[in-house]
């Protein structure tokens, strides 16, 4: 079976004080090739843990991730990751960062040069390719991170709050870029975000997770991502259905937060 299957994942780990935390419980879902799924949720609902399990950085206590017919046991070039920040290599130029994946595979410069230059063009950094990472702004750095991930040609791209550290304006531009890259490359993408609006704008599927233990609360199928490919994102946000969905999801997350606070207070 092609695509990415998350099969009955549970994650529980012991704490130093003797207790234990159930971070995820029975999470199952299937992603087809080329799907973009966004995952908003209250903090502590296990969405980053889930992403780290899919990436292969953490082993789940139960269940498994199956990708293109094989079980995931560790990180691999087939699953690329874009981090919030600080994951670029400061000791390399922009171009060397982007060509890192191909170089690690032992490709020669002639083999990857065209693709790397093309990607730098797409993310608008052609002029900056010889610059050092620390000379770039935060938005430019995230564009490098996107290009670096794409240059490695992974089947799935995992994004952990990739736009979380950017200012509002840069963030909007980057959202358009993510949509554009998704349509152009047809990659499967999982996007973790704090912003419900961002999740609605970018997610073809939207997964709301509930905390303690982390589990799937509700799933939406949306068409805003398709609208956003050839429309201004600000126009998409004006859509009445967009506002309705946003209020509904925000309400859901609010309720979860209140429930947790209530439970914590009751426990005290």
């Amino acid at each position: 079976m092609s695509g990415l299957s998350i099969e009955k994942i549970s994650m529980r780990f012991d704490l130093p004080n003797g207790g234990s935390v159930q971070a995820l419980k029975d999470v199952s879902l299937h992603l087809n090739e080329g799907e973009l799924m966004s995952v908003p949720g209250p903090s502590g609902c296990g969405k980053t843990t889930l992403l780290n399990i899919v990436a292969g950085f953490l082993a789940p206590t139960e269940g498994q991730i199956v990708m293109n017919g094989h079980t995931v046991t560790g990180p691999d070039a087939e699953r690329g990751m874009v981090f919030q920040q600080g994951a670029l290599f400061e000791w390399m130029s922009v171009r060397d960062n982007v060509s890192f994946g191909p170089r690690m595979k032992g490709q020669r410069e002639a083999d990857y040069r065209g693709e790397v230059d093309h990607l730098l063009e797409v993310v608008g950094l052609q002029e900056f390719k010889e610059k050092a990472i620390y000379e770039l702004s935060g938005g430019m750095q995230q564009r490098v991170a996107l290009a670096r991930c794409l240059a490695n040609d992974p089947d799935v791209i995992l994004m952990d709050e990739p736009l979380g550290a950017l200012d509002a304006l840069t963030r909007e531009k980057m959202q358009s870029l993510v949509l554009k890259l998704w349509k152009e490359t047809g990659k499967t993408i999982i996007l973790i975000t704090h912003s419900v609006e961002e999740a609605l704008l970018l997610g073809e599927r939207l997964l709301v997770m509930a905390p303690r233990p982390g589990r799937i609360h509700k799933e939406y199928q949306l068409h805003f991502a398709d609208m956003g490919v050839d429309q201004d994102l600000r126009e998409v946000k004006k859509h009445p259905e967009f506002a309705k969905n946003r209020e509904e999801i925000l309400g859901m997350i609010w309720d979860m937060e209140e429930e947790i606070m209530g439970r914590t207070e009751a426990a005290q």
């Binding site: 560790g74 600080g86 400061e90 000791w91 890192f100 994946g101 690690m104 595979k105 620390y134 670096r148």
Partner: protein, 422 residues
């Protein structure tokens, strides 16, 4: 005390003079437009003018208190009394007779011995005397030895320049003072002035002349360059060996539980032991030759470099490691392209500290025992009271230490330009 007060006065005076001279020529850069500067560290920049005046002030002070020829005479602090002087003393015999005698003294600069002037004995039973004294020295003078009635016959000195004097007392004269000891002998003590005797602090030009002399003639069978070169060679070899072992050790400690557990107690124990405390043990084990010194410097650098490399590895942002693995890097590639470059800034900081410690340690080790080296040079010189060589050595050691640090900073700027910028 007086030099310190003068120095403080120079500091304050220079501040106001510079302020007065540069008034109205303030640059309008961003920092100068800040209104909050007290407490804003970034608004405090080193004032070049102050630095230059500071160095000049030290040399002026040094010259003024050593009578340096580099300074015009009016800047000199009062020097010691030199030249001729006289005083009279009055002797009273046991039966009450009194007689005066004149003492002529010649105070000559130290290093230029002179004979006491010849004087006629004069009249009376107390005969005139003459004394030669080197500058900065005093002299106990048995003035009664040529008198007809001396101390052995019951005579004693009761006045100097007509002023009565008793054992333990003193009389001021135009050349300084005359003190009477508890046993009734006069101690002639010419004024020493405020300047330092060359044996305590030689004038700057003497130090530089001596530097030229040693640079051309050498010191104790070795040229100056050999002395300094050997010290530097020991530092470089000791540091290189320490880094060669310490950096891989630090990496291993940063990457493996077993290595971390095994070496943590050793490293944490050895780190606070000052390398100087190891000198006796190293001398017992390895003798005073090159081997012992290099072992000592190796030990001085080893722990610093191991800890620097360890924290360089632990300091890597986990996102970078995850990113490299998801981009398909193997463990060896992760090491080569991520862990090592990421730890370089820490390693450079460690190397700067280690080089400084090694330089200090080598000088100290050479002070204890060595045939050649910067430390040996000043130690031997001090035994012969060659203060000029001691000061020259200290200046050279300081300059080289500063040079090493500058070199390391330059290498850091060139090799790890991303330091502190992520």
């Amino acid at each position: 005390m007086i030099p310190i007060l003068i120095y403080v006065a120079m500091f304050v005076a220079a501040y106001f003079v510079v302020k007065l001279v540069t008034a109205g020529t303030q640059r309008q850069d961003f920092t100068s437009l800040k209104t909050v500067t007290f407490g804003d560290e970034s608004a405090v920049v080193s004032d070049r003018k102050a630095s230059i005046i500071s160095i000049i002030a030290i040399i002026v002070l040094w010259g003024a208190f050593t009578g340096s020829v580099l300074l015009p005479g009016f800047l000199h602090a009062p020097g010691p009394f030199t030249g001729d002087g006289t005083f009279t003393y009055t002797v009273e015999t046991a039966d009450g007779q009194r007689d005066d005698a004149t003492v002529t003294l010649l105070v000559h600069p130290s290093g230029e011995p002179a004979d006491a002037p010849e004087v006629a004995p004069g009249e009376g039973f107390a005969k005139d005397d003459s004394v030669a004294i080197a500058a900065y020295r005093s002299k106990l003078a048995r003035l009664d030895q040529n008198d007809e009635i001396g101390r052995d016959e019951g005579a004693r000195i009761v006045a100097v320049n007509g002023q009565p004097i008793a054992p333990g007392g003193e009389v001021a004269t135009d050349f300084g003072r005359v003190v009477m000891s508890q046993r009734g002998t006069l101690n002639i003590d010419p004024d020493k002035g405020w300047q330092m005797e060359p044996i305590w602090l030689p004038a700057p030009e003497n130090v530089f002349t001596r530097m030229g002399e040693i640079a051309s003639e050498g010191f104790r069978n070795f040229t100056l360059w050999e002395h300094l070169g050997y010290s530097l060679m020991r530092v470089v070899v000791g540091f290189a060996l320490g880094a060669l072992v310490g950096i891989p050790l630090g990496y291993a400690m940063g990457l493996s539980n077993w290595f971390r557990g095994w070496f943590d107690p050793i490293v944490e124990f050895m780190r606070p032991v000052p390398p100087l405390a190891l000198i006796p043990l190293v001398i017992i084990w390895a003798g005073i030759g090159e081997g012992g010194k290099i072992i000592l410097l190796f030990l001085a650098a080893l722990w610093i470099m191991a800890i620097a490399a360890r924290s360089g590895v632990s300091g890597v942002n986990i996102s970078k490691v995850h990113a490299a693995y998801s981009l398909g890097a193997s463990k060896a590639q992760l090491m080569r392209y991520v862990i090592i470059p990421n730890s370089l800034p820490e390693i450079f900081t460690g190397a700067r500290v280690a080089m400084g410690v090694c330089w200090g340690t080598v000088v100290a080790a050479e002070l204890v025992a060595a045939e050649k080296g910067a430390g040996m040079m000043i130690m031997v010189a001090s035994k012969f009271q060659n203060t000029d060589i001691v000061i020259m050595g200290i200046i050279l050691i300081g300059v080289i230490g500063f040079g090493i640090d500058m070199l390391m900073r330059w290498a850091e700027r060139v090799l790890v330009p991303w330091k502190g910028k992520s």
